[in-house]
Symmetry: C2
Subunit: 197 residues, 2 copies
């Protein structure tokens, strides 16, 4: 059962994740978090110990929310291509939240900053890439994807398209970005699919 302390920690993390999504991990300080939660800085230090431990906790919270919003609803869909379509749709919706995709932004931010936060982010990214590859493998076993396709190549290409989506939506500010993302996903699936005669 969740204790009162767990609930408090969970509430703080949800707020910290929200702040980090909009202002980046480096903009997330114990001081700013104190302002936004109404808790004391010393109380927050008692919860997290350090700015670095707070960053790790926020990355893990992002992973938890991603699983909840993107992965879990898709697991309720039929195995194979319907599930993959749901994964891609939910992922696209995740990337359209204010501040964009937390993981894309954090990866750019932590790229040259080795340490526990980068390690936590790399783990979360790998988990997601493995989920994508697993979904592609299931689509093969269901006879939707051709047996000669490579599940990890699928994960690479799907991830690339989402990075492109983020870049065109946020940096280039291309009004067609979301439409182009959907077309790119459709082309990727078409290339994986068993050809009907």
């Amino acid at each position: 059962m969740a204790t009162k302390g767990d609930e408090t920690r969970q509430g703080i993390l949800a707020k910290a994740f929200e702040l980090a999504t909009v202002g980046g991990l480096s903009g997330l300080t114990i001081g700013r978090l104190a302002e936004h939660t109404g808790l004391s800085k010393s109380g927050l230090f008692a919860h997290f110990g350090s700015k670095e431990a707070l960053e790790v906790a926020v990355v893990e919270e992002a992973g938890r929310q991603f699983v909840h919003d993107v992965l879990v609803p898709a697991l309720g869909k039929p195995r194979g291509e319907p599930r993959i379509m749901a994964l891609l749709d939910n992922w696209l919706a995740w990337g359209k939240r204010p501040g964009g995709c937390f993981f894309v932004a954090a990866s750019a931010e932590l790229d040259d900053r080795p340490g526990p936060a980068r390690d936590a982010l790399a783990r979360a990214n790998k988990d997601w890439l493995d989920e994508l590859a697993t979904a592609a493998r299931i689509a093969q076993s269901e006879g939707h994807f051709r047996p000669d396709t490579d599940p990890h190549q699928f994960a690479f290409e799907a991830y690339s398209i989402m990075l492109g989506s983020h870049f065109f939506y946020r940096f280039v500010r291309d009004p067609a970005a979301i439409e182009r993302t959907r077309k790119a996903f459709a082309a990727l699936l078409a290339g994986m699919r068993v050809k009907r005669r």
Copy 2:
């Protein structure tokens, strides 16, 4: 004819671009540039006026080098798919320089920093996307790409793959990143190509 002042400026810019590729635009200060060129800070201020103007000049220098290294050699290849293959190969080689692709790194860095440097970067990115779309349009007129393919969609997907390449090579540190990039480019071209019977 280039004057002595032009040559000095060109030499400074080449060094500034090199520093920015490895340490980011924000790590490029007039002070650091003075150390690496042996010129005085006041002399550098005389050349560029401000840190912001230096950043704009570096982005433009990056664009000049990109055109020289990636675009120009490809324009010597036959129109259509051979030229596109050369563009993609040269682009991949550009991204493997120390520090990775300057444009990918700078776009992440300047995403939330409006101003003249971000504007210059957006112009350089748009120029390149237009070049990619033009190359795809030529491949259509040469009968290599199907007439119903969308040249801007080609540019979007090629750019997405390069972003994926950068992410998997530098962040995930996937040893297969370059191989996956090549396969993704091959799949993109296969999807655009006129089907032979």
